[in-house]
């Protein structure tokens, strides 16, 4: 179990470190919202999911995308604005999607995908599919009205969805306590009627164990309806961009210290036998260098692409064949 977790963690961390390294070269054509320091949440929560399960994310979705098995070359090529990107250079870094991996997309407007995930879960339930939907969002998103509205509907219809609040304590530079009268997101979930669990310390093993239990009970039908996790974590880098932001003075390096010491990548690394670790690491490094090369060598989209994809052609076979 440690090995796959470590592979996910290491892969996310290294991909983002590479992105941070390349960023200043102006080769990346997108803003980047790094999740360095927060990888454990996505890694733990997505591990028990199957490929056909669905996740919805945010502009800070590199971790979610990769943890769910999203295609790396497509992700990097997208950041380079290339035609081979996961949205062919149309969406950029804030709208990563990989349908084959069950990554249903991400939004740059905070909170929007929470409702979209609930709608997807409604379809799953209506069609009696065994898919599980997972919605990732931040602490700030819980302040948007759509959060309360979405939770209420998910409970009302007992939908197979797990809400995961990645609480890194900040919305850009503003601490949760400056934004929330009662800074207790689980309390709001419970008031909506959800079972809610707070995981305080970014502990990947606890998160993994709790996620596994919840997902299993949903699969086995011993639980029906939504569940809620609030996972406290910490963003090491600035809100957007490759650097740090401690110099801005809104938070201190001291505050960050315990989180950095508790780095889950290091922790899980220590639990993996050296040989296996080496193997994982060199495989990941190779994959990353390949993906970067792919992105750099890919062409930009042709300008004719500007006008495509606004609309799909009227009525698909899919819709018609259902007739009679």
């Amino acid at each position: 179990m440690y090995e796959p977790l470590y592979k996910t963690l290491y892969r996310i961390r290294r991909v983002e470190e590479e992105i941070a390294r390349i960023y200043p070269t102006d080769k990346l054509k997108s803003p980047v919202h790094l999740s360095i320091g927060q990888e454990a949440v996505a890694a733990a929560m997505c591990a028990p999911l199957r490929r056909e399960d669905i996740v919805f994310g945010t502009y800070r979705s590199h971790a979610t995308y990769l943890a769910k098995g999203g295609n790396l070359p497509g992700m990097l090529a997208e950041m380079y604005g290339k035609a081979t990107g996961c949205t062919q250079g149309k969406g950029g870094s804030m709208h990563l999607i990989d349908l084959d991996a069950g990554v249903m997309g991400a939004s740059a407007v905070v909170g929007t995908t929470i409702a979209n995930a609930v709608g997807y879960a409604y379809s799953v339930k209506l069609r009696r599919e065994c898919t599980i939907v997972m919605s990732f969002f931040g602490d700030g998103a819980s302040e948007e009205g759509v959060f309360a509205e979405s939770l209420n509907f998910a409970v009302l219809k007992k939908l197979p969805i797990i809400f995961v609040c990645e609480n890194n304590g900040y919305a850009i530079h503003t601490h949760q306590s400056k934004r929330q009268g009662l800074p207790d997101i689980c309390a709001k979930a419970r008031a909506a009627g959800l079972p809610a669990e707070l995981i305080e310390d970014n502990d990947i093993l606890t998160m993994h164990e709790r996620a596994t239990a919840t997902i299993n009970s949903l699969r086995e039908g011993t639980a029906s309806g939504p569940a809620f996790f609030e996972c406290k974590t910490y963003r090491w880098k600035e809100h957007v961009g490759p650097g740090e932001d401690f110099k801005l003075g809104f938070r201190t390096k001291t505050e960050a210290q315990p989180w950095i010491e508790g780095d889950q990548v290091k922790r899980v690394a220590a639990l993996v036998p050296a040989a296996a670790r080496k193997e994982i690491e060199s495989a990941v490094e190779a994959e990353i260098q390949e993906a970067i090369a792919f992105a750099e060598n890919s062409p930009f989209p042709d300008v004719s692409e500007l006008m495509t994809d606004v609309f799909h052609t009227v009525s698909t076979p899919a819709a018609i064949q259902k007739a009679a």
Binding site: F56, T87, Y120, S123, L126, V314, K322, A323
Partner: protein, 368 residues
């Protein structure tokens, strides 16, 4: 049941009346707008199990003016359901369900309430196909109703469809009769893109020919509802009715108006309108909303662009008065264009200067 897809037979033949068009299809059947909407929904839900219907009060005793009557009984409360008062999230839910392959119809009893759904509609529904490089589609229909009179007032009377004409990625349709109500709704449900389907509560009570079979009135085709020579009169949504009445008034002064119903506002059939104006040299657009940055502004601008250097034309826009909708009857009457004032405007335009003609009301036109 009859499931052959049949395309509106006479948007091609633009100058024939709906009656004529349908009479080809065996004994002509008359239906109310409400029943046409209901039947289209019923037939599509029956045909395609991915179609679902929801929105505040769709399953309540009033059944959205009757447009959803009986559907929860027939298709069950999983495919037909009322919702909490949560327009923002429920719009997001509709989009998510569409992403998963369902074809949701989301109903709003007032178009005014769509202002709570703008973020999901403008930032997500309209953009998903494009920003995901065509990887996903959002086959969503949003039905909303425009209110009028009886003290509806400021927040229950707006026709805000121009917002959706502004944003790429959304289609907009505003059928004005039962035939189009059914054909456009079927087309909207089968469309793989978000479609704003705009109804007007006064139109709900209109009766008209409407075939029982399934047929579509497809995006991007306007209809000449009454051919003429002297002035082109474009009437949107409910104003189509007032324009048809105005056309009758104009006959009294020997003016022949060509009345056009754009039906679909996005994509907009400028060809048909411009072709008509090229003939008449005069364009009056009557909208069921404000004129500033409205549908009438777009139609006037496009026709002007098309015909510049081709023919010198005269244009005029009529719409809501540039104020909030009042409730007091005398003020409300003044707020809306009506057939007689439309006729006057056309008459003045044709004569090139204000005439002193104020047609007396012809009550028989009420049943038009």
């Amino acid at each position: 049941m009859e499931t052959t897809l049949c395309i509106d037979q006479y948007t091609s033949n633009k100058s024939c009346s709906i009656g004529a068009a349908v009479s080809s299809a065996k004994p002509e059947r008359t239906l109310s707008y409400v029943d046409a909407v209901r039947e289209a929904t019923d037939q599509e839900m029956d045909r395609d199990s991915s179609v679902i219907l929801f929105g505040l009060d769709v399953d309540d005793p009033k059944a959205i003016q009757g447009t959803t009557r009986g559907l929860v009984e027939k298709y069950g409360s999983e495919r037909v359901f009322g919702t909490p008062l949560s327009e923002d999230a429920m719009t997001g839910v509709a989009i998510g369900a569409a992403l998963a392959g369902l074809r949701p119809i989301h109903v709003h009893i007032r178009m005014d309430f769509l202002m709570l759904s703008m973020n999901q509609l403008v930032n997500v529904a309209a953009k998903s196909s494009y920003m995901y490089g065509g990887k996903v589609k959002v086959p969503l229909v949003v039905r909303s109703m425009i209110g009028k009179s009886w003290g509806q007032g400021a927040q229950h009377s707006q026709g805000l469809y121009s917002f959706f004409m502004h944003v790429p990625g959304i289609k907009v349709v505003a059928p004005s009769n039962p035939y189009d109500a059914k054909g456009c709704l079927i087309a909207a449900i089968r469309d793989d893109n978000p479609v704003m389907y705009v109804e007007h509560r006064i139109l709900h009570f209109q009766k008209g020919p409407c075939p029982e079979k399934l047929y579509t009135v497809n995006p991007g085709k306007a209809r000449i509802t009454s051919p003429g020579e002297d002035v082109t009169l474009v009437g949107i949504s409910y104003m189509q009715l007032e324009c048809l009445r105005a056309q009758k008034y104009l006959e009294d002064v020997g003016i022949s108006a060509e009345v056009i119903d754009p039906i679909w506002l996005a994509p907009l059939d400028v060809d048909t309108i411009a072709e008509s104006v090229r003939k008449t040299g005069r364009l009056v657009v009557v909208d069921n909303g404000w004129t500033s940055c409205g549908a009438s502004a777009e139609i006037v601008a496009q026709v002007t662009e098309r015909l510049q250097g081709v023919r010198d034309i005269r244009v005029q826009r009529l719409g809501f008065a540039p104020v909030t909708c009042p409730t007091s009857p005398p003020l409300e009457a003044e707020f809306y264009p009506d057939s007689r004032r439309i006729a006057q405007a056309c008459n003045d335009l044709v004569h090139g200067k204000p005439q002193n003609w104020h047609p007396a009301e012809r009550p028989e036109l009420k049943d038009l």
